[in-house]
Amino acid sequence: MKNARNLLCILVALMLVAGIVAGCAPATPTPTPTTAATPTPDVIDPNHPTYVTKDKVTMSIFMLWFSNFAKTYADTAGAAKMEELTNVHIDYTCVAYQEFFEKHQLLISSGQLTDMVNNGDDVYPGGYTKGVADGVFIDMTDYVAKYMPHYKALLASDPQVRKDATADDGTFPAIFMLRSNLMTLAPEPAWAGLMVRKDWLDDLGLAVPATIADWENVLTQFKEKKGADAPLLIGKQADLSDDSFLTAYGVLSEFYNAAGTVKYGPIEPGYKQWVQLFHDWYAKGLINPNFISSQLDHVQGDFTYLGTGRSGACTGIWGFSADAIKNMGIAQDAKFFMQGVQNPVLNAGDKPQAVHSGATIVNQGITVAKSCKTPEVAARWLDFQYTEQAMLINCYGIEGEDYTLGADGKPAFTDKIMKNAEHPNPGDMIGLVSRGDGAGIVDWFRQTLTASPTQLEAKATWQKDATDLMLPAKMTFSADEATQFAAKYTDIQTYVKEMTVKFILGEEPMANYDAFVQAVKDMGIQSCIDMKQTALGRYDAR
């Protein structure tokens, strides 16, 4: 899910940006070949400056990093500190999310790779195992065993993480970024979910809706008593964000996990019930009448509708929960408050199921190029990124300057970050002093330092949803399977999306629903399900 979302974000953002102005990128140094100093990785002492290598080594890395205020990560104090600690000089090639795909494509296809490559959201076509088989990357399995004690220990500490980090064939083709909460591996809490106008609920004396029936009542009252002409905002394709309501019927909009068996939502009875529900809601005016022209984003509901009281519920990103939209000045209502709520269920007491959930490993596999002359040093350097010392540099900057450690060991940003005159937005400053995503551990505790408690509450609420329906994000296809799957599934997906929206709009009578299911079956959905099932089997066997 998160993968799909990030890919979408990149693509959508690329389009947005390409369209808005035609315009550019941060500096990305051309890959420089490694200066071949022969490393003598004999001394292994975490406190010694030559922890990674005794003789200074220069390596290059391609990574995601962007700040408007610095050219590359190399300009930061953190990068200097890292060099001091590891004795490895890094030539950083930094690219922004929005241009990552093209730059990565150029990097790989033009055959001049950096020593280490951050592959963002698994963008090597066919996956990392294929990258190794293609002779582009080094198989890191032996290096992990020999030179990466910290990484190994972290994987051993969490069976789920070990599974996610391991390829189907048991190797480690890539080293993954891990998420932690103050150095304890932990998935990042859910980042998106349903939100509802709490102030309206209070006005109307309604409880937070839990069941589908509650929701219908809430939306109806929003419409009738609050004058909302689009009580519930749903996405352009009635997809992704609207899976929240699908979960009540025990299915998802695409492939999902039914107790170990892969199923495809649209051919299951639950999907039909959901389509019927949205069809009815649309007819009753409970859904945004212009949902097919939703513009903003696949996940975040439109501010215009929310701020002006035309809508009272949507799916949203946690940053926009609580009173954020009011604070932005869009909503004029002094009481405006969007509360994160758990996904709906059919019968009171059922367990809500999540659609957006965080994981400890989601993306950002770092690979070592075959052309790298010092893979041991790369492995040692990467391993160092999984220490607490490195985590603090990567996520918080320099101690004393950018952050301080409290008595409880929790970091807190200094005023330089939180109250900077030049960059009043702490996000800009954090982006300027820290590296963030990439090799090593990324501590999501950091988010809690800038977010309001009410925003965090939304996250915590969504996090309560069970994740039974979700398939593991890290289950993978082989390159051949991926091609076969795409060839078949593209058409099915097009058909399903098209028909779903038509049923909801009432352009296709519900009476034709069974014919629709049969058509999906005739198009060969079973073979797609089988492929997913096989992939799941391989994942479980890791």
Partner: protein, 324 residues
């Protein structure tokens, strides 16, 4: 006006038949006779060779299961598999049909619009008014597609100004014009006209200004009114430009603005709005298949070539202008 060239016997020195067999000899003669011309053309031809032809090895990707790591020369060869995947899609015909319909609509409305605008501007007497309208009409070209589409949606969704206006004419309920395939097509094409009409008319303004004033004077002496002047002087004067641009436009019949469609369409109107470009974009999201996109691109190029050659041939047959 370009004179129609008559068939003449080959000049002295050249072989009479122009076939491939005589190419070396004819080329040698031509090179000798026009050494100067070839010399100044040489850097230009070299530029094409280096910057356009050299990178064409990339076309091979269409026949490969392209693997970035292996590069262009070592990726596994899959022959026509990528093409087959595209042709065998159950949506292939629908995609071609939708692309063609939008392309043809744009040809029928979007192509003549700038010409009409240029002619209308040409009829204006006030220079200041003419220049002002000219400058203003080219403004929308500079506003990004994303912002334009945002505005379009605002206006044509249910409750939007244009939708409401339509209700005034036709009665009934204000509907989202993007929710219906047919009205989507109109919105798409007309908004395209709005965006490009001014910029597109510039070239015709230039063509209009190149018409010899003496021709108008002669026409006036012959007693021709404005209408006759338009028919017998103005239109023939810009005809070569119109025909050349028309031929080029024909060749881009399949390249409709898919970035704009992506911002305006929805699954509800895939039936009419899903085109080759948008489909390939969606395939790209599921699987980064470079070979597949390359194959579709190559297919588009081949179709464009056929369209270009045939419209050029038609134009040669029926008018005095053509590309080559």
């Amino acid at each position: 006006m370009r004179m129609k060239t008559e068939k003449r016997p080959a000049p002295i020195g050249y072989a009479n038949a122009g076939g491939l067999r005589n190419l070396p000899r004819n080329l040698a003669v031509d090179l000798r006779r026009n050494a100067g011309l070839y010399l100044i053309m040489l850097p230009i031809l070299l530029w094409f060779l280096v910057f356009c032809y050299a990178p064409m090895f990339g076309l091979g990707m269409a026949f490969e299961r392209f693997t970035p790591g292996k590069g262009f020369f070592a990726s596994p060869w899959v022959g026509l598999q990528n093409f087959r995947n595209f042709f065998e899609s159950i949506y292939f015909l629908r995609l071609i049909r939708n692309t063609l319909v939008l392309g043809l609509l744009d040809l029928a409305i979007g192509f003549p619009a700038p010409i009409l605008l240029a002619l209308m501007l040409n009829e204006l007497r006030s220079k200041a008014f003419k220049r002002t309208v000219q400058t203003i009409s080219y403004l929308p070209y500079f506003i990004s597609t994303v912002i334009l589409c945002g505005l379009i949606v605002l206006f044509v969704q249910s409750g939007g100004a244009i939708s409401n206006l339509l209700v005034g004419f036709t009665g009934g309920k204000s509907v989202n014009l993007l929710g219906n395939g047919d009205s989507f097509r109109l919105v798409f094409v007309l908004s395209g006209v709005w965006q490009f009409v001014g910029y597109g008319s510039i070239i015709f303004m230039a063509a209009l200004s190149a018409i010899d004033h003496e021709q108008y004077e002669a026409a006036v002496i012959d007693g021709a009114g404005r209408w006759k002047q338009l028919l017998h002087v103005t239109l023939p004067g810009i005809m070569p430009t119109v025909i050349v641009l028309l031929i080029l436009k024909m060749s881009s019949l399949l390249s409709v603005a898919s970035d704009k469609i992506l911002l305006l369409y929805s699954p509800a109107i895939y039936e009419k709005a899903d085109v080759i470009g948008t489909y390939v974009y969606r395939v790209g999201i599921i699987n980064m298949d470079y070979g597949y996109s390359a194959a579709v691109g190559l297919f588009n190029s081949v179709v464009a070539t056929i369209l270009l050659l045939s419209s050029n041939a038609i134009s040669r047959r029926f008018s005095e202008s053509s590309l080559f």
